[in-house]
């Protein structure tokens, strides 16, 4: 190995910049310096030419790799199957139509748009379910606003007030294996939103059942966004902050089941709870409008 050029000091100064010059990452002033040097230095010019040639050859060789269409189709099939899994195998006709629509879109070369649209829907679902997760995490997990020994039912009914006292029994009856430790009306710091919060213990963990007024917040329509249904109530799910959350809409309310149990268990619990909760909310004295009149029996989070 030996020195290539008599003007080695200048070459020494310029050579470290050649890679950044090749990547177009140099500042304008440094680029001028490099260009000025290249005009008068044959060796550095040749060096740059070699680097450019190798880069172009690499780009060409990499792009020459054939992309297997069957792999793309296989992944698309798996993504569809994942969505079918979320659906729980119901709503055959609607889903068949959705699949047919998807196929047309894919065949029409609009797969990318479809993909983005579906993912955006999932994001909306996650955004809504984040309400329940925030209350569970702040009030139950971080705030630890529940006793080790369950509060007596009469205390819980008092905390819930007449509007939601009846819901306590609905939660108890439809949550086998769980003990309701605490029930109250709470809010999350920084938000005026109120939550009817049932904190339960079972399966070795803490699980929250939460109701809150929709107040304009909606879960997206479309079968692809749902994770299942229970007696015509659509169920949605998301994994957020280490928790699995299942949610549903019911006559102006959003309902959530949040825990660190696995996704299927959380969905099953929500599936069992959603219909009776909906009935209780519709039938009870404290349906939609009365949520506004609630006083905060306990502020948490």
């Amino acid at each position: 190995m030996s020195v290539l050029n008599s003007n080695s000091k200048q070459c020494d100064r310029i050579r470290p910049h050649l890679d950044a010059y090749l990547s177009n990452e140099l500042l304008a002033e440094t680029t001028s310096d490099v260009l000025r040097h290249l005009e008068g230095c044959e060796n550095c010019t040749r060096e740059l030419e070699t680097r450019t040639r190798v880069r172009d050859a690499l780009r060409r060789a990499a792009m020459s790799q054939v992309v297997p269409e069957e792999l793309r189709q296989s992944i698309q099939r798996q993504l569809r199957a994942t969505r079918l899994g979320f659906l729980g195998g119901s709503r055959g006709l609607t889903w068949a139509l959705a699949l047919a629509g998807l196929a047309v879109v894919v065949l029409g070369g609009l797969a990318a748009q479809q993909w983005i649209s579906l993912l955006r829907g999932r994001r909306v679902v996650a955004g809504v379910l984040a309400l329940g997760v925030a209350d569970h995490v702040q009030c139950a997990i971080k705030g630890h606003n529940y006793p080790d020994i369950a509060n007596p039912p009469e205390v819980l009914r008092q905390k819930l007030g007449p509007q939601f006292a009846g819901v306590l029994e609905v939660v108890k009856q439809n949550l086998p294996g769980f003990e309701v430790l605490e029930a109250h009306i709470c809010s999350v710091q920084g938000s005026p939103r109120k939550y009817v919060h049932f904190i339960t213990r079972g399966h070795g963990t803490i699980l929250s059942v939460i109701l809150t007024k929709s107040e304009g917040v909606q879960l997206p329509n479309g079968t692809a966004f749902r994770s299942g249904a229970s007696r015509s109530i659509n169920l949605y799910e998301a994994h957020l902050e280490g928790m699995n959350a299942a949610g549903f809409e019911s006559k102006g309310y959003l309902g959530f089941v949040v825990s660190d149990l696995d996704r299927n268990t959380t969905l099953q619990i929500a599936s069992a709870l959603a219909p009776p909760l909906k009935n209780a909310l519709e039938a009870g004295p404290g349906s939609t409008a009365q949520m506004n009149t609630l006083h905060l029996s306990r502020l948490t989070g």
Partner: protein
Amino acid sequence: MPHFPDLYRTACLLAQEPAEGEDLVQEVYLEAWKSFHRFELGTNCRAWLFKILFHRLHHFRRRWTKAAKVEAFEKPEDQDGIVAETPVPQEIRDEDVLKALGRVPIEFREVVLLADVQEFSYREIAETMKLPLGTVMSRLSRGRKLLRRALAGVASSYGIRPDNEQARKGESA
């Protein structure tokens, strides 16, 4: 599926074998589907998908790559001086480039691919690979040099004579 060809080609050039590359791409799209709530709308979808690809790739690699190997290659030998390199042949065939690329250690290969094939900026590469900007720059410089060296080696193993005679003249000057 957006950016499928880019992800597939990159994965196959970084995996130990094609089937592993295919598995990687598959995992990227399934992971993207499941975790789309983490994607910030309006940001670069392509960069996000590549970030998932490298996250998965590094998960795979932890099984068989040792950090010491990277450190050994990142030693100061990387200084970009004006020392004569083995000349690269004028005509470069695709198969020779791919063969030479396979000889470049993966830590350098991935940065070279992101910069030179996928045309990501240094900053995007740093974010994608969770590396400091300086490390990206040094790995790119070193990776390109290793590729040139490997390319010259592949060509000479076939008996291809480099016609960069000027460099030889300079060496004997």
